[in-house]
Symmetry: C6
């Protein structure tokens, strides 16, 4: 097993939901989703195999984008939607 480094297992990278911009918030949403999966499956070899499948399967891509949308709801609310930004 090629175990991911610990930095890839941090659940909330940066330790906060607050970001300066929507763009950074969205990037955090993607990162948090990915790190959740790293915590469930920390074997890089398995993850790489899986990527071959899901990254070219439209339904998997749609499902992935839904997870990001849900994570982003939380982050956007945390930042009051960056209304004054």
């Amino acid at each position: 097993m090629d175990r991911l480094p610990d930095t890839e297992l941090v659940l909330v990278p940066g330790g906060t939901l607050i970001t300066d911009t929507p763009e950074e918030g969205r990037a955090l949403a993607m990162l948090m989703a990915r790190h959740t999966i790293h915590n469930i499956q920390p074997d890089l070899d398995v993850l790489k195999e899986g990527r071959k499948t899901y990254a070219s399967d439209p339904d998997s891509l749609i499902a992935s984008s839904q997870v990001i949308a849900i994570e982003f709801q939380t982050i956007a609310a945390a930042n009051n939607y960056w209304r004054k930004a």
Copy 2:
């Protein structure tokens, strides 16, 4: 690999969740969902192949529309539902 241009990879096009109208907010929801997928799979050839499948599969279309609905929840809340618009 035919990599998407950088403009297609911006996570929050325009850099804000605030829009003038619900119509523009909805368009942003669609754009954000699409750009998330671009970030997961930036190869245009793979995306074009996928489109052939999902765009004529009712279940994929329903799943896609659900992602847009979720993105729109966030954008609509950010804009206080355009109540005075």
Copy 3:
């Protein structure tokens, strides 16, 4: 390709999330979900083919009803749940 007319592609028909009654809000939820799909797949022939499948498949019907439920959450919140109506 038998392209849908432009009216079928408006993302937020009526241009507002505010409706007089819950019934109208629910109808708007259905319309918005449908028009999202029209924007992803504007070919009426493909949509008609898809309908044959999903409209008699219980799982597709359940999935469709979930999208409407999510859209309605947004519209109901926008209208403060029509509490005084």
Copy 4:
């Protein structure tokens, strides 16, 4: 085609999201979800056929219960969670 009567097509039966009790709110959630499906598929024969399948398929039952959970979120919020009830 054995078309459902109009009463089965009302999107928000009773015309309001406000109910006296959580129990009634939950019943409304079930009714609204069902009537959405009636609007997508108003042919009673097709619905009856579908029921044979989904009502004994655990995954379909789980998916159905999720739709009810989402509808109920909206109705519970509309009623301020019946906190004083």
Copy 5:
């Protein structure tokens, strides 16, 4: 048909979303999800058959846990997240 007793069909057991603790709120979430399914399929024999399948299928278990998560969102909000508890 071995019909479930009426107590298994109550949609909101206890008649309120308010609970003393998060633990009880979570238990209510599980109960409400289960009773929704009982209302769609009240035949105990069919439910027992289904359980054999879904309780050992990881995807069904994940789907079930998602329904509980959604129900719990509502109950937690109703209880102001038991912040003072």
Copy 6:
């Protein structure tokens, strides 16, 4: 049957949704999701078998990450998004 110990069946480990940091909140989200599944399927042997399947199936991993995202929405709201943390 190799039944899980009672500690693995606590629905809200720690008895509160309040945590000091987002990282701990996220860990709680994962724990709550897992314990829900333990309550539905308390047989460790069955769970171990299931893990072999879902932990290397990208779609199952995506579905799992979605459940965590939903649980985290609740916990983040409970903690006012750790805005002052």
